[in-house]
C-alpha cells in the first residue's frame, strides 16, 4: 500500500508545450509532450495553425487560377504539387500532354525533389543539434537549383509553370547546359552532406534505433514516401502506377528495413542520388517538339466526373481528388497530404524516447505545415 507521503516523492509528469513557434517544428506545428524527467510519456499533436482554406478557395477559381494555391500548399516542392493538380485536370479533361512537356516536367519534378531533400538535410541537421553547417551546405546547392528554376519559370518558389495540357512556355535554349551545371554542383553538395552527416559517429549514435515504426503500423497509419520505404514497404507511386515517363527510364526504389530515424534519413539521401541519375537520363531523351497540344480551348471546361490522381512528392503521396460537375471550376478539390498521414504515427514513434530524440523523430518525418493544414 503506497502511503500518502510516498506520493509526494513520485515524479509528476510535466506537460511540455512544444508549440507553434519552435525552431524544429518546421513551421506552426504544436505538440504537448507529457514528460517524466527526460522520457516522453505521451504526445498530443495539435495542427491547424496554418489552415488557410486552399481547397475552399480553389472551388471558386477556374483551373488555371488554382495552380497558385497548389504551389503555396506544398511550398517546398511546388513542382510536385502542381504536377498532381495539373495531371488531375488533364485526366478529367482527357488532354494528351506532348512528350517534350512530359520530359521537361520530369526533369523539373526530380530537381525539385532534390531541393526539397536538401532543405530536409539542413533542417534535420539543426534538429540533431548541429546548428549551422548542414543548413549552410544544404542551402548552397538548393540556391543553385532555385536559380535554375528562376531562369525557367521566373519565380523562386511559386512557379505556376505547369498548365493543364503542358507547360506555360518553353524552356530557355541553354536549358540542357544549365541543368548539367546544376547537376554537377548538386553531386558535389550531396557528397559533402553525405560525408558530413552519414559517417559522423555522434550523428549515428543519435539517430540509429530511435523512433522505430514497423511496416504493418506504417501501412495502417497510411504513411507514404521515404518514411514508409524506410520501414521496408516497397511503396512508390512512380513505379507502382507509373505516370509521366518513369516507366521508360532506369532507376530503382530506395528502401531500408530498420524503420528508424537513420533509415528515413538515409532513404532520402540515396533518393537524391537516384533523382540525379534520373535527371541525366531524361536530359538525353529530350528532343524538340510541342509543349502544349495544338487545339487547346481558350477556357478549359471539363466534363462532369471525379478523379483521384496521386504522384510521388518528396514527402510522400500528394493526391488530388477532383470532382467536377462541368464548367471551368472544380466542384470539390481535396488535397491528400502525405505529411498529415505521416504525422499520425508521430505519437507511436516518439513515446518512450527522450525529449531530444522525440524532436529528432518529428524532424525525420519531414513535415511541411502548408500541406498538413492546407
Amino acid at each position: 500500500m503506497v502511503t500518502e507521503s510516498a506520493h509526494e516523492f513520485e515524479t509528476r509528469d510535466l506537460l511540455l508545450n512544444v508549440g507553434p513557434q519552435h525552431p524544429s517544428t518546421h513551421g506552426v506545428f504544436r505538440m504537448v509532450m507529457q514528460v517524466d524527467g527526460e522520457v516522453v510519456r505521451d504526445v498530443i499533436p495539435y495542427v491547424g495553425y496554418l489552415h488557410r482554406g486552399a481547397e475552399k478557395l480553389c472551388e471558386t477559381m477556374d483551373y488555371r487560377q488554382g495552380i497558385g494555391f497548389m504551389d503555396r500548399t506544398e511550398y517546398l516542392a511546388s513542382m510536385n504539387a502542381e504536377l498532381s493538380y495539373v495531371m488531375a485536370v488533364e485526366a478529367i479533361a482527357d488532354l494528351q500532354v506532348p512528350d517534350r512537356a512530359q520530359w521537361i516536367r520530369m526533369i523539373l519534378v526530380e530537381l525539385n525533389r532534390i531541393s526539397s531533400h536538401l532543405m530536409f538535410m539542413g533542417a534535420f541537421g539543426v534538429d540533431a543539434g548541429i546548428i549551422g553547417t548542414p543548413m549552410i551546405y544544404g542551402w548552397r546547392e538548393r540556391e543553385a537549383i532555385i536559380d535554375l528554376f528562376e531562369e525557367i519559370t521566373g519565380d523562386r518558389m511559386m512557379f505556376a509553370y505547369f498548365r493543364p495540357g503542358g507547360l506555360a512556355w518553353d524552356v530557355p535554349t541553354n536549358f540542357a547546359a544549365r541543368v548539367q551545371e546544376v547537376i554537377a554542383a548538386v553531386k558535389q553538395g550531396i557528397k559533402d552532406l553525405d560525408g558530413l552527416l552519414t559517417y559522423n559517429e555522434v550523428f549515428l549514435a543519435r539517430t540509429q534505433g530511435i523512433g522505430v515504426i514497423s511496416a504493418a503500423d506504417a501501412i495502417d497509419f497510411g504513411m507514404s514516401g521515404p518514411s514508409i520505404r524506410a520501414s521496408g514497404v516497397h511503396l512508390d507511386i512512380r513505379r507502382d502506377e507509373p505516370y509521366l515517363k518513369y516507366s521508360e527510364i532506369d532507376w530503382n526504389v530506395i528502401t531500408a528495413t530498420e524503420g528508424d530515424v537513420f533509415a528515413r534519413y538515409n532513404c532520402r539521401l540515396q533518393e537524391m542520388w537516384e533523382s540525379v541519375r534520373m535527371v541525366e537520363q531524361c536530359l538525353d531523351r529530350l528532343e524538340p517538339g510541342l509543349i502544349m497540344p495544338e487545339k487547346m480551348p481558350r477556357m478549359l471546361r471539363t466534363p462532369p466526373g471525379e478523379v483521384y490522381v496521386r504522384t510521388e512528392a518528396p514527402r510522400g503521396e500528394y493526391g488530388i481528388y477532383l470532382v467536377s460537375k462541368g464548367g471551368n471550376r472544380p466542384y470539390r478539390l481535396k488535397v491528400r497530404s502525405a505529411c498529415l498521414s505521416n504525422l499520425q504515427a508521430l505519437k507511436q514513434m516518439s513515446v518512450g524516447q527522450y525529449v531530444a530524440d522525440a524532436i529528432l523523430v518529428l524532424g525525420s518525418i519531414d513535415i511541411v505545415l502548408g500541406e498538413v493544414d492546407r
Binding site: 510535466l14 508545450n17 508549440g19 504537448v32 524527467g37
Partner: protein, 124 residues
C-alpha cells in the same frame, strides 16, 4: 624593497582587476536601467512556452537522476580545484607531493567506481 613591498606589489593588479570588474558590472546594470525603455505588461511576465500559455505549473518534483548527476559533478569539480595548484608546480615540490596527489586522486576514483557500479550514472 622589504618583504612587505614585494608582497604588496604582487597584489596591486588584483586590486585593479576587482575595481574594474566592479565598475563594469555596475555600469552594465545602471546602463540598462538608464537607457532601456522598460514597460510592465501582464503577458510579458508569463513564462515563454512557444507562444502558448503553460498548461500546468512547471515546478513539479523532478527525478532523482538529475540530483545524483549534480552531486557527482560538484565533487569532481572541487577535486579539480585542488589539482590545479599542484599541476602548476609539481615539478619543483618533489616526488613526495606527487605521490600524495596520486593517492588523493585514487581515493576519489574509488568513489567514482563505487557510484558507477551502484548505477548512479545509469540514466534510464
Amino acid at each position: 624593497m622589504g618583504q612587505g613591498e614585494v608582497l604588496f606589489d604582487n597584489y596591486v593588479p588584483v586590486l585593479l582587476a576587482t575595481i574594474v570588474g566592479f565598475f563594469l558590472v555596475l555600469g552594465a546594470l545602471l546602463g540598462s536601467r538608464l537607457l532601456a525603455p522598460f514597460s510592465e505588461e501582464r503577458e510579458k511576465s508569463t513564462t515563454y512556452e512557444c507562444g502558448m500559455l503553460p498548461i500546468r505549473r512547471a515546478a513539479t518534483n523532478v527525478g532523482m537522476r538529475f540530483y545524483l548527476y549534480a552531486i557527482l559533478f560538484v565533487i569532481f569539480d572541487v577535486e579539480a580545484v585542488f589539482i590545479f595548484p599542484w599541476a602548476v608546480s609539481f615539478l619543483d615540490i618533489g616526488p613526495q607531493a606527487y605521490w600524495l596527489m596520486v593517492a588523493f586522486i585514487a581515493i576519489l576514483a574509488l568513489g567514482l567506481g563505487y557510484a558507477w557500479k551502484k548505477g548512479a550514472l545509469q540514466w534510464r
